[in-house]
């Protein structure tokens, strides 16, 4: 092998599982940990365990939460009459960073993708519909792709007849764009220019 003790090799193996971390970086991080005080390493280990133990899915919107409800759902200052429907937790973070949206979210957990065998039953659509009783506007912010459009259309058809305004993020975002890579100004204009479905 590489002459390193098994404990060090083990940590290198674990660290190199992280996205964007290669073997070399993992080794550098492992040596850094070796040089770090025992208290700091314990602090890190405790933080990792606490992450797994305490962070789960929000019971209402499927965003990440510590406890039953996420910070957004439990914030009484937010406008509960507006729901923004997104594909993934990452999308919530992007909209929150933009800072303009004051309503609530609903994380679908993906998008209808027949070639991957993902159908509406695999997404959090039925509990979205249950949430809509007191909602006045639902903004569907799935990504602009055939999968995202199909998901938006499917949801809109499911709630047909409910007294609520359904909008879709405007096409300021080019087809196939990952919201992650869209800059905040583009996204903000897509938000204000959203279109009725």
């Amino acid at each position: 092998m590489n002459g390193l003790p098994p404990s060090l090799n083990r940590i290198v193996t674990e660290l190199s599982r992280f996205p964007g971390i290669g073997k070399k970086t993992a080794q550098r991080l492992a040596f850094h940990l070796l040089d770090t005080s025992r208290e700091s390493v314990e602090e890190l280990a405790e933080a990792l365990l606490s992450l797994k133990a305490n962070v789960r899915e929000c019971r209402r919107c499927h965003h990440i939460a510590e406890g039953e409800l996420c910070a957004i759902c439990s914030d009484t200052r937010r406008d509960s009459a507006t729901i923004c429907v997104v594909e993934r937790v990452l999308d919530v973070l992007i909209f929150e960073r933009m800072g303009e949206y004051k309503g609530l979210y609903h994380v679908l957990g993906g998008v209808i993708s027949p070639l991957d065998g993902i159908t509406p039953d695999d997404l959090h659509i039925s509990d979205l519909i249950e949430r809509l009783a007191d909602v006045k506007e639902m903004i569907i912010a799935t990504h602009p792709s055939m999968e995202g459009d199909t998901t938006a259309l499917f949801i809109a058809q499911q709630v047909q007849g409910l007294p609520l305004k359904i909008t879709r993020l405007a096409r300021g975002i080019p087809m196939g764009t990952n919201l992650e890579f869209t800059n905040e100004a583009t996204l903000a204009s897509a938000f204000t220019a959203r279109v009725d479905l």
């Binding site: 027949p114 070639l115 065998g117 159908t119 792709s145 055939m146 199909t150 499917f154 080019p174 990952n178």
Partner: protein
Amino acid sequence: MSAPHTSQAVVLRTIEYSDTSLIVRLFTETYGKVTVMARGARRPKHALHGVLSVPHRLAVDYRHKDGRDIQTLVGVELADSYAALAGDLARSAAAWLLVEMLDRAVQVADPLPLLFRLITASLEQLNTTSGDFTTVVHFYQLHLARQLGYAPQLEKCPRCGRQVQTAVLDHLGGDLVCVRCLPSGSLRLGRAALSYLRDLAATHISELDSLHPASGVRREVDQFLLKYLFIHVDGMDKLRSLKFWRQVRK
């Protein structure tokens, strides 16, 4: 040696390779099934962005190296996005089904220009017809089977040679035979279903709106064509897009 290749192509599948790159499986008119790497295609300002999506028809330019599984995409121009599909759940579901069937049916990089014409004409018809588009799906499935070399016998029974009145699918041999030769057969096609299949075989795709099969006939043929393809084409029984198609079709 690396050589520039140019062709028309349909996007069969895209796979996210990294934060910025995409692996794209194409069915090209000139070279058959080809997998290419599109570097940077996931970047929002990249020229290829959003163009590389199922089931778009493209003009592609790529560098081909013998012995490589993945070639390098150089340029793309969008020829048709079949934009009307996105406004209709059942039509999009059908488009995904057609594309996945082709992806499963074709394994090698052999030029199959007739199949290329079949998929592009079928997507085009799906995109534009105001009529009953399940006939487009049936047309595609029947002609896919024919072009893969598995045309079902719609006139004479391959066992006894007699004209078929009621046909039965022989699940073992995969043939369509007459009911007298296989009285125990469970998947049956009546006179009207056979006549609809003959019409599908003889009608030009642009004339499909003239066919109006009764709903019972449509169901019979629907079952038959899928089962027939399952028997003859490896991997067809694993179609993932079938579930969504069944869920949203009218």
